[in-house]
Symmetry: C3
Subunit: 207 residues, 3 copies
Amino acid sequence: MSIDIITIFDFVGTFAFAISGLRLAAAKHFDLFGAFVVGFITAVGGGTLRDVLLDLPPFWMQTPTYVSITGLALLFVIIFKKQTVKIDNTFFVFDAIGLGLFAIVGIEKSLSVGYPAWVAIIMGCITGAFGGILRDTFINEEPLLFRRDIYAMACIAGGILFFVLRNIGISEGFCQIGAAVSIFLTRILCVHFGVNLPLLTQDKNKD
Amino acid sequence: MSIDIITIFDFVGTFAFAISGLRLAAAKHFDLFGAFVVGFITAVGGGTLRDVLLDLPPFWMQTPTYVSITGLALLFVIIFKKQTVKIDNTFFVFDAIGLGLFAIVGIEKSLSVGYPAWVAIIMGCITGAFGGILRDTFINEEPLLFRRDIYAMACIAGGILFFVLRNIGISEGFCQIGAAVSIFLTRILCVHFGVNLPLLTQDKNKD
Amino acid sequence: MSIDIITIFDFVGTFAFAISGLRLAAAKHFDLFGAFVVGFITAVGGGTLRDVLLDLPPFWMQTPTYVSITGLALLFVIIFKKQTVKIDNTFFVFDAIGLGLFAIVGIEKSLSVGYPAWVAIIMGCITGAFGGILRDTFINEEPLLFRRDIYAMACIAGGILFFVLRNIGISEGFCQIGAAVSIFLTRILCVHFGVNLPLLTQDKNKD
């Protein structure tokens, strides 16, 4: 995986995550600044928690790129207000790409500061999924992730695959590609076929 | 207080805290992963905030024990679904034990990095009580702790006792036991006798 | 800006921020401890997030002053329960003073650890505005800041002014005064004249 492709996917993922926050903010009629904050938290919240837990400088404070991408996403939502509803599938694909890539970034960063595989897998999951939890918490909704379809679990599965591949001697780059693609495909296929995790209680499923 | 007893209490407390998160998640019909996350946040959230504020590596990232205990707690709730409702009192006692122990761990960690008594007492309180605040915030409920009975205040009282005992020359181990027991008893007795803190306004108590 | 004036404004701002949390807690009939926690989070939450992101020791753990001011604010609200409602305008002015000062503290702290202007401006904004977001999140309300009038944007504007003045060679102290006053005035004037940011969607404004 060359740096350039990772970088492009990182930006695409950030854009897709920001859009998901902005659309919820628009549905709640937030003002432009509030919407920007929600989009930004969605895009960088997971990675920020990861960096704080790993005691690393927050990634988005090292380059203005992530703030700018969120600004572009806001501009995009303002200009293409009506169209954003219609291109749901495109965003869903972008979001799944972002999920796979963010998880890999989380794994690599954890390994780089000496944490073992199980911490790296959790950090991959936090990087991919915690932005959405923070988004829902701040807009005062019950986090979708706690009920919805396979999302964070795809990061866990992909993270495990990463270390399985690595332990059988596959080169780092192919481990990354394999894990990212598996997260992407798990996410896409689970939604396509309506695969869900079981609920904790099945007695009276009134939601 | 030998390391072994502290360790056992730490695990028991973690288990009890995780169960309290899992039960609320079950009541909200979260899926298994969402329930696990809520249980885990309840169990380690307070200690994680403490470690971040003290600039220490988060404790649960140093050993897989806490993730495993939350997994066991999830298994326990799945298997003994009906019974967990009936053994409320047992969990309440476990939770009170955890509260006392967590507070002591928070105090000791703060002192070990050079903070004064008042910071240590607050960190003890955060360790014991903030997991529950985070749990309620993420499941989109108003934190129980803001209204309910004596909970965090028991940590404060126990923390003050710890430093009173320490200043009169009691050995560290006995200060720990004394404070942990006092937190446990304060919690148990206040609930038993229905002792509450006054509300900030009494005019129209419409809740 | 001498240290003494900054210190006084810092305390006044902390007091005003704590009061704003305490009044919301009172409206929700929290108990005294819960109210204290909400007041404290409102007062120090923004600065704490800033310090964690900058990897600095949290400011309120270095001196008991901020805990004490929150305690005084709680005492004030208990004693002057009825009057606090009537002196809204006074608190509004205090809050705006706090906003301006907190933003400057956030900017200066960021620069002191080597971050560039754009990070400093964001940190100024987080210092001034994130306490209120945390307050609303913990009491389970949708953050006011996401919809309301010009608040965080005043910090951004003041932060930009700070660096414009600095780049044209104005001395640090005057940059600080200029930015703080501009934030204060922007806030006061926008509320007075009902200036708001546009909402992200205007189609069906059903709130």
